[in-house]
Amino acid sequence: MALTLSYFAWVRERMGIADETVTPPAGVATIGDLIGWLAERDEPGTWAFSEPAQIRAAIDGRMAGAGALLPARGEIALFPPVTGG
């Protein structure tokens, strides 16, 4: 499983990068699992993802909930609630 992760707004600032390619360990099957894994992976991840309720996600451009299954490959965008308009 090779996923491109892209980060936005304060998630991007806390991670210190705009995107990266990752291969999550076995057992990381959903968006919620991915956020949990990132929160434990390193310090920036903990800072960005320790409050999963504040994180929204999109899989290949479609909004996806915490229970959504991760694709084998694709782009996962992770970001705070949107504030346009």
Binding site: F8, G61, P81, V82, T83, G84, G85
Partner: protein, 150 residues
């Protein structure tokens, strides 16, 4: 005619209105959102996704066009750095009668605030910089459109 645009350049409201109204529609409604200078705000920055932000706006425009009988729809959102007084968003909707044009504009601005990948960052004269948090009221307004039949 549907026109959707996302860009860092200033929105020329007069020119957009002239182009939109060239169709001579019976009823037109508009919403213009501008940067407020409250609390010593000096800059508003809008972060976006190069693909998903325009895609999200196009999807909303298509939903509005499917929901109401619209003769023309213009939906333009600015991104990047803006100063107080500058236009952030412009929504224009036209129909044969007022009810549909007014409803479409309200639907688009409400849903824009919860569904499209855009994030506001504020900078103030005293040096404070921070990301704007989503307001609970925005969700309540956006969800009304799920419940009502039209």
């Amino acid at each position: 005619m549907i026109r959707v645009a996302v860009g860092a350049g200033a929105i020329d409201v007069a020119a957009e209105m002239a182009a939109h109204h060239a169709g001579g529609h019976g009823a037109s409604a508009s919403f213009v959102g501008r940067v407020r200078g409250d609390g010593g705000l000096t800059e508003l920055f809008l972060e976006h996704h190069p693909v998903l932000t325009p895609g999200g706006l196009e999807q909303l425009a298509a939903e509005a066009a499917a929901r109401w009988k619209l003769a023309a729809l213009t939906l333009i959102h600015r991104v990047g750095s803006m100063a107080p007084g500058e236009t952030i968003v412009l929504v224009l909707a036209s129909s044969a009668h007022r009810a549909e044009a007014l409803a479409a504009v309200e639907f688009l601005i409400d849903r824009l605030k919860t569904d499209v990948m855009l994030w506001k960052r504020e900078a103030f004269a005293d040096g404070r910089v921070g990301w704007v948090e989503q307001r609970d009221g925005d969700h309540a307004r956006a969800e009304r459109w799920e419940q009502s039949a039209d």
